[in-house]
């Protein structure tokens, strides 16, 4: 399997995780904030929010390792009108700057709530434009393995899947680790469970879609012959059994999300007993710890699967002609 594009694998996965976490965080604020008040949602989401900008900066820095002459990176926005790569870089930098300004402004309580919401909205749009551009870079008519709706679609699925699960991990960890509970806790239990239900339910849907999209597309490619069939061959067998491992991890991640969803739904009273004390006063119950392990494991399994999938994606770079 081709490991030459490792910087791009790390860059795309981290950047998609960042954008996904920012957007999902925003959606949860809109949905859950109305019922519970923004302050309570903030308590759960702040740690994730503060991590998003720096992760995106790290992702962009890693992407420089892919370049032959990183000093010329300054020119990469020159072809914004025609090149999706230019657009990706412009929107990616705009998202990173927006996310950092938003998190600082949020922490320092700089702007009015309205202005902050506007900033968050614009930053989220930059993020979504970034993911679209990132996907469209690879929709090249000369590379059949990439030239498909499946490329941007799977990039968006990765974005929301990893972003959602990362926010889920943050919510559970914040309410479990005593020191963090003391700082961010309070009586956020109903909100926590409601948010986690939304996250895991949407993760299940996304996992299901991705589970269908990827093999379907590989099979579609394999029937076309030529460079397309070579791409399919590399996608399915290029890494030995990597594709199978990816699918197993993906399925296991899905099963863990389902288990987690089941825990939240059926284990409510026991789990709640662990956290109802709030403010760090009560010892964290077993169920709460189990929730951390469950959502954490789901995140790691899906992340590992996505990394393998992205490595195969770059391996399937076979162009027509010669």
């Amino acid at each position: 399997m081709d490991t030459q594009e490792t910087p791009l694998v790390i860059f795309t996965i981290l950047a998609q995780l960042s954008v996904g976490a920012f957007v999902i965080n925003g959606v949860l604020h809109v949905l859950a904030g109305r019922k519970n008040g923004q302050a309570k949602v903030d308590k759960l989401s702040d740690p994730a929010l503060y991590a998003i900008g720096p992760i995106m900066i790290v992702a962009l820095a890693i992407s420089l390792a892919h370049l032959g002459d990183p000093l010329h990176a300054i020119y990469t926005c020159e072809n914004f009108g025609r090149s999706w790569l230019s657009r990706e870089i412009v929107f990616g930098v705009a998202f990173a700057v927006g996310a950092i300004i938003f998190s600082v402004a949020h922490a320092k309580k700089w702007f009015t709530p309205m202005l902050l919401q506007l900033l968050a909205g614009v930053t989220a749009l930059f993020g979504l434009a970034f993911i679209l551009s990132q996907g469209m870079i690879y929709v090249i008519p000369t590379i059949p393995g990439w030239d498909s709706w499946a490329t941007p679609v799977s990039f968006f699925i990765t974005t929301f899947l990893l972003g959602g699960l990362a926010v889920g991990v943050d919510f559970v960890v914040v309410t479990t680790i005593p020191s963090m509970r003391a700082r961010h806790g309070g009586d956020t239990t109903p909100l926590l469970y409601q948010s986690l239900r939304w996250i895991s339910a949407s993760a299940m849907v996304l996992l299901g879609v991705q589970f269908v999209v990827e093999p379907t597309y590989a099979l579609e490619l394999s029937s076309k012959g030529g460079a397309a069939a070579q791409s399919a061959n590399l996608l399915l067998f290029g890494g030995g059994s990597v594709f199978i491992v990816e699918m197993v991890l993906f399925f296991a991640g899905g099963a863990m999300v389902a288990f987690f969803l089941h825990m939240i739904r059926s284990g409510g009273p026991i789990a709640v007993a662990g956290v109802t004390g709030g403010g760090g006063a009560t010892a964290v119950g077993l169920s709460q710890r189990a929730m951390v392990y469950a959502v954490g494991t789901a995140f790691v399994l899906v992340l590992a699967s996505e990394v393998l999938g992205r490595m195969l994606f770059y391996t399937a770079n076979v162009r027509i002609g010669f």
Partner: protein, 206 residues
Amino acid sequence: MAKQLGFFIDQNYCTGCKTCQVVCKDKNDLPVGVIWRRIAEWAGGSTNRYNGAVETTAFAYYTSISCNHCADPICIKVCPTTAIHKGDDGIVSIDDGLCVGCRLCEWACPYGAPQFDSARGVETKCNFCADFLAEGKEPACVAACPSRALEYGELSELQAKHGTINNVAPLPDPSITRPSLVIAPSRNAQPSGSTDGAVINPKELV
């Protein structure tokens, strides 16, 4: 000045000797691993015995290809820095001072024209020997071809003289980039996209 320069390749005369490739490397002082003009060998067919007689449909022909200075260059579309540009004479060239070495043009070009110079961290490609042209000389590859299989000139004139065929395997569908290329096809030539043959020297084309 020409409006659109192009190359003509006569597959009936090309012997696959690679003189064009070697002289291009020499003239442009290209490092190991960077080949601006490459020669693909496309072959296929089979040989069978029938009642003691041997019958063969085996065939092979060569296609010498550098940058085709396309009318619709995909390299220019994907380049984020505008380092790749098309001149008034139709020559597509790369500005070293702008190239960031992202290699997207190399991935996208179906003729493998952009070649990455890892020592300098930038893409390089055939510039039609623009310096030779300015001196009134032929491009090095054209001048060196021992069987006179290569020609260059104004694309419309090459087309008037030799026709408009440029969709011969293993070349891609020309509608994608509209290459400034004319081919006199081998009698065994197969259309672009054909799977009845294969490039049998892939390692020479990397």
